[in-house]
């Protein structure tokens, strides 16, 4: 398996208690809507909603896809499956991280309160230079 982050065995045997990143869209989008509430303003909600609903059909996304595709080294020998796979893992070392970066960059903005465990679960490579308070 060429996936960088190996999936731990048995990880689907039962549901996990969630990290906020996993349920942010549910929490923002779902639940009963009632009458006669007071409108209070929500600071930072724009970032949260944009993050939860990335516009997939946008020029931005197209360019990101194009860039990701262009960066890849693809060996055009369709008939043989084994060798190209190996070659890709050798040749795409540098490109790989950039491709990932381009796509994950969108998610990078997800603000968090300061629950380190959740963050590190989702972004294992993230550095500890967080500034949770500034995000609000």
């Amino acid at each position: 398996m060429s996936v960088a982050r190996a999936t731990p065995r048995g990880y689907l045997e039962r549901p996990r208690p969630s990290g906020l990143a996993d349920v942010i869209d549910v929490i923002l989008d779902k639940g009963m809507v009632i009458d006669a509430y007071i409108r209070v303003s929500l600071i930072g909600i724009e970032i949260l909603t944009i993050d939860a609903r990335i516009v997939i059909a946008s020029v931005d996304t197209y360019l990101r896809f194009a860039e990701a595709v262009n960066r890849m080294d693809i060996v055009h020998t369709d008939e043989s499956q084994g060798l190209p796979e190996i070659m890709e893992t050798i040749t795409s070392g540098g490109a790989k991280s950039k491709t990932k970066g381009a796509i994950e960059g969108v998610k990078e903005k997800l603000p968090g309160g300061g629950d380190d465990k959740e963050k590190s679960e989702r972004r294992p490579r993230r550095r500890s230079s967080r500034s949770g308070k500034d995000e609000e």
Binding site: A36, A66, H76
Partner: protein, 255 residues
């Protein structure tokens, strides 16, 4: 109108008989308490009318409902709902909606929400797409040969073709996931993709006693799609997606 700036943050509704004691700190750190009214109990906490710092308070909202959901069947109210007073909670939230709330509580009793998301290994997905789609492979070669500035529109076109293929994969994988999992759930909802690497995203309403059975189905699905996607399997959650009732007279969403 009350003359001070106090108000109540509203988390959710439970049956009075079920009313849980929630210890998780609420929005703005306030204690969570319960407003009782006839057959219902509403989870609230004191707040002022100042703005909510969404990034922090989403977390409080979530934790309170998570804890309540472990102890009772709770109908979550949408994040950011603040009401005038206890009287408003009783008269505006509960009184006009007795039937809806009773029906929802009955329907959701003993059931939890489980969310299953498939995430593509995006590099692998894009690689597969380039390999099997000659039009994309050709366009890619052309774009790669051009200087960056000259290839702008070609790049957009390339990205658009790729996006369409990704969408196609997404459709297929969503259908597959629902086909495998829906038979083990009381209800299922497809959710919009949360990101460009989302293969599928769905919420399932599952009997508490059948969670294990459902988990086994998720496990099997995981094996079936191993390598192509990673599954994120999250829960049990209060039934956010299935208590998605609009109790407003005019169905104007909050902004």
């Amino acid at each position: 109108m009350s003359d001070n700036d106090q108000a109540l943050y509203v988390y959710g509704v439970v049956a009075a008989a079920d009313a849980p004691n929630v210890n998780a700190p609420g929005v703005k750190g306030a204690d969570v308490r319960i407003v009782h009214h006839e057959d219902f109990a509403v989870l609230v906490s004191e707040t002022d009318r100042g703005p909510l710092a969404a990034a922090r308070e989403v977390r409080a909202h979530w934790r309170v409902l998570e804890e309540a959901g472990e102890k009772a069947t709770v109908l979550p109210v949408r994040f950011g709902t603040v009401m005038e007073s206890e009287t408003a909670v009783k008269e505006d939230l509960l009184a006009p909606n007795v039937e809806r709330l009773t029906a929802l509580l009955r329907e959701l009793a003993g059931r939890v929400q489980l969310n299953v998301k498939g995430l593509y290994d995006e590099e692998r997905l894009l690689r597969d797409i380039v390999r099997r789609t000659p039009a994309i492979a050709r366009l890619r070669e052309r774009v790669r040969g051009l200087p960056k500035s000259a290839g702008y529109y070609d790049s957009i076109q390339l990205g658009e073709l790729v996006a369409a293929e990704v969408e196609h994969c997404r459709e297929q994988d969503s259908a597959l996931a629902l086909e495998r999992l829906e038979p083990h759930a009381a209800a299922a909802r497809r959710e919009p993709p949360a990101g460009t690497d989302t293969a599928f995203s769905a919420s399932f309403l599952v009997e508490r006693e059948r969670v294990e059975d459902f988990s086994a189905a998720v496990s099997r699905l995981g094996k079936e799609i191993d390598g192509r996607m990673q599954i994120r399997y999250v829960g049990p959650l209060p039934p956010y997606s299935f208590a998605d009732a609009d109790l407003t007279a005019r169905s104007e969403a909050w902004a």
